[in-house]
């Protein structure tokens, strides 16, 4: 019996707990959307989306552990990569002469 299936309280397993945590992370991510939409500057939006990306990575990892699907971590890895590239690319091209990096 793996840790995920261990009963925590009242019939709920550790896996359920992790799913709940993932749901809370989603809630926080939705709150973060406020900054991504309102701005006021482009950099604020990129920053918010960057944090959202990190949240997504964490959520993917949590779900991977909770549902017993370790390959979610591969997707999380790729997502983290793309998230980084997105931030760099947008930062570079929002500046007029492209002086960033």
């Amino acid at each position: 019996m793996s840790v995920v299936d261990t009963t925590l309280i009242a019939g709920y397993t550790v896996g359920d707990g992790l799913v709940l945590a993932a749901a809370l992370f989603v809630t926080l991510a939705v709150a973060m959307l406020y900054r991504a939409i309102m701005g006021p500057t482009n950099q604020d939006r990129v920053l918010a989306v960057n944090v959202l990306g990190t949240n997504t990575v964490v959520i993917l990892a949590l779900l991977g552990a909770a549902l017993g699907e370790p390959w979610f971590l591969d997707i999380a890895l790729v997502y983290a990569l793309l998230n980084f590239l997105m931030s760099i690319a947008i930062s570079k091209f929002t500046v007029e002469r492209g002086g960033v990096i």
Binding site: L18, F25, L62, V95
Partner: protein, 106 residues
Amino acid sequence: MIATARIGLIAVFVTLGLFFTFVSTAGVIRLPDVFSRAHTASQADTLGAGFTLAAVALTLGWQSATVKTVLLLVFIFVTNPTAAHAIARAAYEEGIEPWTTGDDRR
């Protein structure tokens, strides 16, 4: 006994991860300018993600996927400050003045 300690540790780590991500979200929404927001965004990237991924690694136990969580964490720790730096620098070069105390826009 060990299993109980492990589950307790998982719960603590997930809670801490959630706490720091919450702080970071609150900060990004509350703070006045992009530079201050970048500080607190790095909280979610460091301890928020760090603690949660540690919990995930503990849950997965000793298997090859666990190495990936470590890899993921290292990756986040290397790339996120770089991204934050790029964003802050872009903001600076766009001519956004950092907010200081006494500034009335908020």
